[in-house]
């Protein structure tokens, strides 16, 4: 490469990087973590099976909108109808997937670990040309805010699912099992992640020029800013929790385990 740090005029050093710390750990772990999730979620999303076990509906399949959805799983009805032949997860998953794909934290994580652009700070990237997010398809990252709106709606549905999880197998209220706890943890992480979104921070108050003229929005902005500071952490926690919630439902639906009921 004649471009980059070996460009003419710059101080020439033989070593590729002089960094002596374990800079490759973060991109490697990120790579492994994401890859594992993608493999798992692809399998689960396409399987179209074992996603409901009363009263738990897997978050991958919620809301379940096709006629093919199993009994009891379609609390919002089945408006898509029977022409949809694929797994019903695919109808809805595009929204949370789009939200996370365009998320500012995930972008950092996958640009670094999958594109190696850059793999770590002051470690050269292997590409000869770079245009950032100025062209298709990456210019679409700019519509993150719309995915955020969709993510809020999906979050509302998952909250509803979590409320429904306070029923027993006969549909009676006031009961709890291990699944309820997992769903509860999941929805908390999902909201911490969704409300800490950079676009959300912009919409609630960041776009203002005078906080002093909008005290309520300023407060909200302050709250979102606090969540936003840990956006990366919540991105991972909610990713794990949603996979665990789905896995739990899968294990119940396949009768591998029984739900541990508390009362």
């Amino acid at each position: 490469m004649s471009t980059g740090v070996s460009s003419p005029g710059r101080a020439q050093v033989r070593e590729k990087t002089l960094r002596q710390d374990n800079w490759w750990v973060y991109p490697l772990l990120t790579f492994l973590g994401f890859t594992a999730f993608v493999v798992y979620s692809t399998w689960r999303a396409f399987s179209g099976d074992n996603y409901y076990s009363t009263p738990y509906l897997s978050p991958f399949y919620s809301p379940c909108l096709a006629t093919a959805c199993v009994d009891g799983s379609s609390d919002l009805g089945q408006p898509v109808g029977d022409w949809w032949r694929l797994s019903p997860a695919l109808i809805i998953l595009v929204f949370p997937l789009g939200f996370r794909l365009t998320c500012y934290y995930y972008r950092k994580a996958y640009y670094r670990s999958f594109w190696l652009s850059p793999p770590a700070c002051a470690v050269a990237e292997p590409h000869g040309k770079y245009t950032g997010e100025t062209r298709l398809p990456l210019i679409l990252q700019n519509i993150h805010r719309y995915f955020w709106v969709a993510a809020v709606l999906v979050g509302a549905v998952l909250t509803f699912d979590t409320i429904l999880a306070f029923r027993n197998e006969d549909g009676e209220w006031g009961h709890m099992g291990l699944g309820t706890l997992i769903f509860l943890a999941n929805i908390i992480f999902i909201w911490l992640y969704t409300l800490g979104c950079h676009s959300c921070r912009h919409i609630v108050g960041g776009r203002l020029r005078h906080f002093s003229k909008h005290p309520v929005r300023y407060k909200m902005w302050g709250f979102v800013s606090k969540l936003n500071a840990k956006h990366g952490t919540y991105a991972w926690l909610s990713l794990f929790s949603v996979a665990i919630a789905d896995l739990y439902v899968y294990l119940l639906a396949t009768d591998t385990i029984n739900d541990l009921r508390f009362f």
Binding site: T3, G4, V5, S7, P8, G9, R10, A11, Q12, V13, T17, L18, R19, Q20, D21, Y104, R107, K108, Y111, R112, S117, P118, C121, A122, A124, E125, H127, K129, Y130, T131, G132, E133, T134, L138, I139, N142, I143, H144, R145, H198, S199, R201, H202, G206, R207, R209, H210, F211, S212, Y218, N228, A229
Partner: protein
């Protein structure tokens, strides 16, 4: 307490150079710049290095210590093992002049391209009023000491010399954000931030934030909000429509520059 420190220091100029070995006596509590100064005073009087305040306030002594962009005056020797060899090179994104001194004119050129602050008129009593909460965001960005380490680490130009004309770098996104968030400014610089400064080139991989010696949250508080502001103008029909309907006749409206 004191010990002999082994160092490798890059010496040379635009025509070439190499890492040279030095051994220098150092004391407890010293920083990399102290070791460099001692080498300069006792072993290599012409070792070129930029520095001024030696207290992390002026941002002159930027270099790369063991491959990481750092201020030499704020890099303590106690962060390293006594047996460890410390390698110091000039910043690698800008052309080298001599030894540890580089030509950072890129940054001064980019500074010229940001249109100046254009405030609203003063209040009738000759003073200006701004509330603390309205200036706080800008104050964070104005902590910048212009060490240009964020510019050095930014892979957009570090790894791609050809991007330099079209990209202003993190330090200047900070400046755009500061002005755009200023309660009294009347210029709208969002178009420039996108087109002249190339904010779309940034892929928010956050190295600028990692190396900032002032701990400014460059990415989260300046670049991303600026990207969102650019999106308001360019990629969001709802906001665009809203601004056409509601903003007409707003006396504090901004003029696009």
């Amino acid at each position: 307490m004191g010990y002999d420190l082994k160092m490798r220091i890059w010496r040379g100029d635009a025509d070439g150079g190499d890492l040279g070995d030095f051994t220098v006596a150092v004391e407890e509590g010293e920083v990399v710049l102290d070791a460099i100064h001692r080498i300069q005073a006792t072993q290599a009087g012409d070792l070129a290095v930029r520095w001024n305040c030696k207290a992390g306030k002026c941002g002159s002594c930027s270099a790369e210590v063991n491959g990481r962009p750092r201020l030499m005056c704020m890099t303590r020797l106690s962060d390293f093992e006594e047996s460890e060899t410390i390698t110091v090179t000039p910043v690698r994104t800008f052309p080298v002049i001599r030894d540890l001194v580089t030509d950072v004119s890129y940054n001064y050129e980019k500074a010229k391209q940001v249109p100046a602050f254009a405030p609203t008129p003063r209040d009738p009593d000759g003073k200006r009023r701004m509330m603390q909460e309205d200036v706080e965001r800008g104050q964070e960005f104005r902590k910048c000491i212009e060490c240009f380490l964020c510019q050095d680490v930014c892979h957009v130009i570090r790894d791609h010399e050809d991007n330099k004309p079209a990209f202003a770098g993190p330090r200047f996104f900070l400046r755009y954000a500061e002005l755009d968030m200023h309660p009294l400014d009347t210029n709208d610089r969002r178009k420039l931030a996108q087109e002249a400064a190339g904010i779309g080139m940034c892929n928010i991989t956050k190295c600028c934030t990692e190396v900032c010696p002032e701990n400014i949250h460059i990415t989260d508080n300046a670049i991303i909000p600026m990207k969102e502001r650019v999106a308001d103008r360019k990629y969001d029909p709802v906001v665009w429509l809203g601004s056409k309907i509601f903003r007409r006749g707003d006396p504090a409206a901004r003029t696009e520059v």
